[in-house]
């Protein structure tokens, strides 16, 4: 009772990455984008603030949706991809019933989400009033509901400041922001404005030790670096950042994941280890800004077109990884003779603040590249390292490793 069809390209997820991919596939034949939500757009649907070029999130979604439609892609919402029935065959559920769709190329663009309280192993009771930024934004901006009256925001990276903006806009008092790191990790102006003008205190080197309250949250216990504990009264807590790619479909399809990003491991042409399966956007790295995810979608489309024209899937690839204190690198595969990484750069994350670190890239003990970063590497935000050296990688050599040399502060 499943209807079966074939298309040329199937894109899973109509966020910025998936829509931008589809917008560049006008020459690819039949292109179908499947989106499980009732509306296309992914995360920016509920980012009711600027910062998407000159647009707000919803305005940006309209632009991307229009571009994908003009390129001739069939955009289907309220259609969920539920699993794989073959290497390039996906099963879906929608109000129209069950389908099984086979494509010549599949692009996974399923995005990333914040890890909730339970995955972070925060002990205590299980009351109402515990949010992620994603749920908070939808509650306020899509459903017009009030999240609570007095909140604590966990995290101090860019999305945490979006949560602050949404809370204040909804008339919620913010008792504090809390980060386990020694400083905020957002734009200096955002952080200063929030602390000084909006008078939201930032507690650094602090963690949430416990949630309190029965039906509704009544407070949280904060633990400071020196072991001191304090109770902050609040009825709302928002867990922000700590992104994890929404990799369910990738993993169920046996697509090799990178242990650093926990998204699919891809080469510079967004190719996963599975022939015909591409991945783009924040599925590869939680979380980059929407414009970056969209740019990746455009680049992935070019690689999809080459694949449809018969370009061979690389058999041999050199893995790329990082060493502590670096957290991850993307892309994680170098195809000998393949294209350079997007914009000629690798994206990296650090787990600690590093002041102007020396970055070293080596393979089998041989240094391929050395570079001093001109600024501080900040956790929860990516920095770029030149990929000009990829031509020098030994195609028969071992893993390429990124290290950072710098006193941590």
């Amino acid at each position: 009772m499943r209807s079966e069809r074939t298309v040329d390209v199937l894109v899973v997820g109509a966020g910025p990455a998936g829509l931008a991919t589809a917008a560049r596939l006008a020459d690819a034949g039949e292109v179908e984008v499947l989106e499980r939500e009732a509306r296309a757009g992914g995360i920016p649907r509920h980012c009711h603030h600027g910062g998407f070029g000159q647009r707000t999130g919803p305005q940006y979604v309209r632009k991307l949706t229009g571009e994908a439609a003009r390129a001739g892609a069939r955009l289907r919402t309220s259609v969920t991809v539920t699993g794989w029935a073959g290497p390039l065959t996906l099963d879906t559920t929608s109000a129209q019933g069950l389908e099984r769709i086979t494509a010549r190329a599949v692009v996974l663009a399923t995005g990333a989400r914040e890890r909730p309280r339970s995955a972070r192993l925060v002990p205590g009771s299980r009351p109402a009033g515990v949010f992620t930024t994603g749920e908070l934004q939808q509650t306020v901006h899509l459903h017009g509901r009030s999240p609570g009256t007095r909140a604590v925001v966990i995290g101090a990276e860019p999305v945490a400041y979006s949560a602050v903006r949404t809370l204040l806009g909804a008339g919620v008092e913010i008792a504090a922001m809390i980060t386990g790191l020694p400083r905020h990790q957002a734009a200096v102006t955002d952080a200063a404005d929030t602390r000084l003008r909006r008078r939201v205190p930032l507690l650094t080197d602090a963690t949430v030790a416990e949630l309190l309250g029965r039906e509704r949250l009544s407070g949280i216990v904060v633990r400071h670096a020196d072991g001191r504990r304090a109770v902050i009264a609040c009825d709302t807590v928002v867990f922000t950042g700590d992104f994890v790619p929404d990799h369910e479909l990738a993993r169920r399809g046996g697509v090799l994941l990178d242990p650093g990003t926990r998204g699919p491991a891809v080469d510079s042409a967004f190719r996963t280890a599975e022939p015909g399966v591409f991945a783009a956007g924040n599925l590869l790295h939680g979380a980059e800004p929407a414009l970056y995810a969209a740019r990746e979608g455009g680049l992935a489309a070019a690689a999809v077109l080459r694949h449809l024209e018969g370009a061979p899937w690389p058999a041999e690839q050199i893995p790329v990884r990082t060493e502590d204190p670096l957290g991850w690198v993307a892309p994680q595969r170098i195809t000998p003779g393949g294209p350079p990484p997007p914009y000629g750069r690798f994206l990296l994350r650090t787990t600690r603040f590093l002041v102007r670190p020396h970055l070293v890239v080596h393979q089998d003990g041989r240094i391929l590249h050395r570079q001093r970063l001109a600024h501080t590497a900040v956790p929860n935000r990516s920095f770029a390292v030149s990929g000009s050296w990829v031509g020098a990688v030994d195609p028969r050599g071992g893993t390429v490793i990124f290290t950072a040399e710098q006193r941590s502060i």
Binding site: R2, A119, E135
Partner: protein
């Protein structure tokens, strides 16, 4: 069909009032519903199954390790048979995955023969000892060091939420009144001339009944004292549990039990019918009957033990952490007693097997009521129920083409992690025993219970819940 959540309680006198709508109280209500009686359940919470019955390990025990000859051992065995059959008939997810009781050292291995022999006496003749090779063949992701195991094929996993809801649904459909948000404060004898029985003072006013059943779980001792008895004291024994992501499900095939020690049954690893893996429970004696929070220490201990049992488990994400309180007493058995002169039955101390034993407890309590003088009348068969399926071993609505063709709402997913459709949420909100909170809705549908914990669907599910509540308020 009556479920009330507010306002005065009905006048007149019930034949039986059951205090507590946990799995035990609702099972009793369902059993009584077979008889031509006026029965009511009074429950302090806004939903059925909102206390210990929602927070357990969800195993349908064979009773292989019970103390032979105890009331608990008899009721667990009989309850297991009854509930296994009832579950199949009513659509309660149950999977007979079997258990392996794993010995990790010589002392534990030496304890296996006695356990096998005890299992035989407890009516599990097919329990047998298997060697390390077979253990690892059947459980390839088990950590190193297992020496042998007792294989107990009959142990099953079950959905505790659907079980309680199914009992309550059938009872209510058959005419039992369910009064929620209704806490019993105290009990007095009805004044002469108004019939022999009890006058119950509750948070929603007074209600009268001829017979009283105390199935108040953790508070069964308090209610018992209100009737003048001092037979047992409930000491809440907390069990914390960790639910691992569905990606962990392939790591575990059986219920993996430790060899029991003097301190209790120990920490197990088990699949759930929802396709997750459970690790727990701890066993901590407390004095606060409301202490259902998790602790950093508890989580750390469990992860340490889990790492040894199935090392791969710890690499997977945690979907939820919860804790339940066992109604432990100073006695080594259930505290079920008839007080015929008082027309009162105590059903207390139903500590760690109450889900399994529930239907047998209900049958036993009904007999005790008859023995205390209640005329039961002719029993009749109840209208069967068919509960919405929450189990992964059976087709879920989003997988059923014929269902979606008949009603496209079953094709629209709202909760993506748990694959819950708008049709299922609509049905649960309109059900005969509707949820009193978002958590109640989760227990009926799994919505918001997955790895994202509401990042994607939380706001929409709340909207659907609130809309319904607003419609009901008018």
């Amino acid at each position: 069909m009556t479920v009330t959540t507010a306002g005065e309680l009905p006048d007149g006198t019930y034949d039986v009032v059951v205090v507590g709508a946990g799995v035990v109280g609702t099972a009793i209500a369902r059993e009584l519903a077979r008889h031509p009686l006026r029965t009511a359940v009074v429950e302090a919470a806004n939903d059925v199954g909102d206390a210990t019955s929602k927070a357990n390990t969800a195993i349908l025990h064979t009773g292989f390790d019970a103390v032979p000859g105890s009331l608990e051992s008899r009721l667990v065995r009989e309850g297991q048979r009854r509930l296994a059959a009832y579950a199949t008939e009513s659509g309660i997810p149950v999977e007979p995955v079997g258990a392996l009781l794993v010995a990790w050292d010589e002392e534990q291995r030496a304890a296996l023969p006695a356990l096998a022999e005890k299992a035989g006496r407890n009516g599990c003749p097919d329990a047998r000892i298997i060697g390390a090779d077979e253990v690892y063949r059947r459980e390839p992701h088990l950590g190193p060091g297992a020496l042998a195991a007792l294989d107990v094929p009959g142990e099953s996993i079950i959905c505790p939420w659907t079980t309680t809801l199914s009992y309550a649904t059938q009872a209510v459909r058959a005419g039992v009144d369910l009064h929620l948000n209704c806490r019993l404060h105290d009990v007095s004898r009805t004044p002469d001339g108004e019939g022999d029985g009890h006058s119950l003072r509750t948070s929603r006013g007074t209600v009268r009944t001829r017979y009283l059943v105390n199935a108040a779980g953790l508070h069964s001792d308090t209610v018992d004292r209100a009737l003048g008895h001092d037979d047992f004291t409930v000491t809440p024994r907390r069990g914390q549990l960790i639910v691992f992501d569905k990606f962990a499900r392939d790591l575990v095939r059986h219920i993996l039990l430790p060899v029991p020690t003097a301190l209790g049954k120990g920490v197990l690893v088990a699949p759930t019918v929802y396709g997750n893996v459970l690790l727990g429970p701890t066993a901590e004696d407390l004095d606060d009957k409301a202490a259902t929070g998790s602790t950093a220490g508890g989580i750390a201990v469990l992860r340490e033990k889990g790492r040894r049992i199935v090392p791969g488990l710890i690499d997977e994400e945690v979907t939820a952490v919860y804790a339940g309180l066992r109604a432990a007493t100073e006695h080594d058995d259930f505290q079920i007693r008839a007080h015929p002169g008082q027309r009162y039955i105590t059903v207390g101390g139903i500590r760690s097997t109450g889900l399994t034993a529930s239907m047998a407890i209900a049958a036993y309590v009904t007999e005790l009521l008859a023995g205390a003088g209640l005329g039961l009348g002719e029993p009749r068969d109840l209208e069967p129920v068919r509960m919405p399926n929450l189990g992964e071993a059976f087709p879920r609505p989003y997988q059923r083409a014929e269902l979606i063709a008949a009603d496209p709402e079953y094709g629209v997913l709202v909760c993506h992690c748990e694959r819950v459709t708008r049709g299922e949420i609509r049905d649960a909100l309109a059900g005969p025993v509707p949820p009193g909170s978002l958590d109640g809705l989760r227990r009926r549908t799994r919505a918001r219970g997955g790895r994202c914990q509401g990042f994607y669907c939380g706001a929409e599910v709340r909207e659907l819940f609130d809309e319904r509540a607003e419609v009901q308020r008018g």
